[in-house]
């Protein structure tokens, strides 16, 4: 690894947090800082943003000067991650429209088939058991208010 390695993970995340910290400072300033004697609503976030920006700056400088800053491969597997996150967002979108039991059934079957594919029998069985069991646990036993389907039950 070279002395000026721009791909170092600390460099990338440092720049991002530096920008975030400065943005927080700007918006806090717009909300109103007040005075040290009478801090306004923006006072605390301004300090926090300033702290974040200053530290991120220090981190970036550290990377640029390469003070024994470690480097590593982040190895982010976007395909799997996005598949799981998309399934979860779909769950959130459909939950109140289709009802708890059906959405849960689909959710579990889908996840069991996508990441590390199981047999259909296993997936469907797993989906049925987990949706029924969680319905019994949360709705019947713990009396949470789970959304029902358009059919009026489940």
């Amino acid at each position: 690894m070279g002395r000026y390695d721009w791909r170092k993970p600390d460099y990338k995340s440092g720049i991002l947090f530096l920008a975030l910290g400065l943005a927080v400072c700007y918006f806090s300033w717009k909300i109103g800082l007040g005075s040290p004697a009478k801090p306004g609503p923006g006072f605390m976030p301004f300090l926090a943003g300033l702290l974040l920006a200053a530290l991120s700056f220090a981190l970036v400088v550290q990377v640029l000067l390469s003070w024994t800053v470690p480097t590593w491969k982040t190895n982010i597997q976007w395909k799997n991650i996005l598949a799981v996150l998309a399934t979860m967002i779909a769950y959130g979108l459909l939950l109140e429209k289709i009802g708890f039991v059906l959405v849960t059934l689909g959710f579990v079957i889908l996840l069991m088939k996508v990441i590390e594919p199981q047999s259909w029998k296993r997936a469907v069985l797993g989906g049925m058991i987990s949706s029924m069991a969680s319905y019994l646990l949360f709705e019947t036993f713990l009396k949470s208010q789970l959304p029902r389907s358009f059919l009026g039950f489940f």
Partner: protein
């Protein structure tokens, strides 16, 4: 104070059938969470928090506490048998525990882990029982300036003890403070960073934040490593350690208990660091340090005792000051407030049933855990054979249901997913989530204390330094913050290994 009658009162509460059952349930869940890799106590407690809304406050806290110390028992099982730590505080146990199992000594390893946990757990509850009320009485004299300084000190110690880069730990604390600011300002009702989303007016909920950062992100990390588990074949026998093994383990257990208890009190230290420090100490005092890593029973007894003792210690700041010392305590603080209990130095006096009931439940819970872990070990081993491909959809499902039922707002589900992705990326870029959670919880308290102090002093920030207790604490804080500039300490800090969850 008459401890005897108070603790008796506590036991009378625990022995009510509902509480007895819930204590058992908490311990059972805790062991389960401890055994299953990829679901830590923090996520599990956040997950089950919504389900305890319908319970009485004392029952809810009894259940949640059971999960916490139960996980410390369960964590050792996977470390010893599969070489995969069930949670962060059992990472170090894999070194000697798994080696012992390979040499056919899985029984004594599991046995000493359970007995050590029991002894340390019980000793630390004794400590908690005497120290928390004492400290609370001292803290009655604290005003907002003292609280402000104390929280500054707490955050500093947390960052000081953080593994890895101290700059990055501080960055996470700053980020936590910022996230804590989201929502309508308490004093002026001005909206801060709500991005025009009306649901964000009440601020970001602790539950979606914790479940995202610890639950979802953990699953995302785990699905990319295809965990190959090789479970020890053959029957596990001789769970009762023999005389020699007891002799070797007695001192490590006692040292681990004391060390863990003291470290548990410090903010940010917690069970994981306690177990690492205990291992290092045992290796240093041992007459045969070369045996460590080759299946030394001291290497199991010490750390496993220390992590249990730390759980007892970590309750002290919560119950006596109302200040959480780690992310689990932060969730418990949230639970207390949801149940209308005001955390702070008055808690022990105003809610004796709660404090003594919970303390008594811990004595009982430790006995239950001993029973759950030793005779039933075969059951947990079977559970380990469930493949992760089947497990992870269920963990995600529970997170989704938990986030939704906590508030019945779908926005919380999306928030949790967002924090899940954030937690995953933070982990990939080697940031720790624990300082973030703690700063998130302490932030609003800190802001409140600061504003109240300034009202008292009519705007002079000198109040933080002129009041003796507050001033002393702040000076210590500043010294701690400056100390890493000394190269010697910087070197020592690097000995602390990276922990995954706290």
């Amino acid at each position: 104070m008459d401890y005897y009658s108070l603790i008796l009162q506590g036991f009378s509460i625990v022995f009510q059938p509902t509480n007895l059952f819930l204590c058992f349930l908490g311990c059972l869940m805790g062991t389960l969470v401890g055994v299953l890799p990829g679901l830590g106590p923090t996520a599990a407690i956040a997950l089950l928090l919504p389900t305890t809304f319908h319970f009485a406050p004392v029952s809810a806290i009894i259940t949640l506490c059971g999960i916490y110390y139960g996980a410390m028992y369960g964590g050792s099982t996977t470390s010893i048998l599969v070489n995969i730590p069930g949670e962060a505080a059992s990472v170090i146990t894999t070194l000697d525990g798994y080696k012992m199992a390979q040499d056919g000594r899985a029984g004594p390893a599991l046995g000493i882990a359970a007995f050590g946990s029991y002894i340390a757990g019980t000793l630390s509850i004794v400590g908690l029982m005497f120290l928390a009320p004492l400290l609370a009485r001292g803290a009655l004299a604290f005003g907002p300036p003292e609280y402000f300084s104390l929280m500054c000190l707490g955050l500093t110690i947390l960052i000081y003890l953080a593994s890895g880069s101290m700059i990055k730990a501080l960055m996470m604390a700053a980020l936590g403070l910022i996230i804590g600011c989201i929502g309508a300002d308490m004093l002026t009702n001005v909206h801060r960073f709500t991005l025009g989303i009306p649901e964000l007016m009440d601020g970001v909920g602790l539950i979606p934040l914790v479940m995202g950062l610890f639950g979802i992100s953990e699953v995302l990390l785990n699905i990319e490593i295809q965990v190959k588990q090789e479970i020890l074949k053959g029957k596990i026998k001789n769970l009762l350690p023999n005389l020699q093994e007891w002799k070797d383990s007695t001192m490590p257990i006692l040292r681990g208990s004391l060390l863990g208890f003291l470290l548990g009190i410090l903010p940010g230290a917690g069970p994981a660091i306690a177990s690492f420090v205990s291992y290092a100490v045992e290796k240093r005092v041992s007459r045969h340090p070369k045996k460590f890593g080759q299946g030394a029973i001291e290497g199991v007894a010490g750390p496993e005792s220390a992590n249990n003792a730390a759980t007892g210690g970590s309750f002290i700041p919560l119950f006596s000051l109302g200040i959480p010392s780690n992310s689990v305590m932060a969730i418990l603080l949230g639970a207390l407030m949801i149940h209308g209990v005001v955390p702070g130095p008055n808690l022990v006096q105003q809610n004796p049933d709660l404090f003594w009931g919970v303390v008594a439940s811990m004595y009982l819970g430790n006995i239950m855990l001993l029973v759950l872990n030793l005779p039933l070990i075969g059951l947990w081993v079977k559970l380990l054979k469930v493949p992760y491909a089947i497990l992870f959809p269920l963990i995600l499902l529970f997170c989704l249901i938990g986030a939704y039922t906590a508030s019945n707002k779908i926005v919380d589900v999306y928030l949790m997913i967002f924090f899940g992705l954030m937690g995953y990326l933070l982990r990939k870029y080697r940031y720790e989530a624990a300082p973030l959670i703690l700063a998130f919880v302490l932030g609003p308290m800190l802001e409140d204390a600061m504003r109240q102090s300034l009202i008292i002093s009519e705007g002079s920030p000198k109040i933080f330094f002129t009041r003796p207790i507050s001033g002393t604490i702040l000076v210590v804080t500043i010294l701690l913050l400056l100390s890493p500039l000394l190269p010697k300490i910087q070197k020592k800090r690097q000995v602390l290994p990276l922990d995954k969850e706290n």
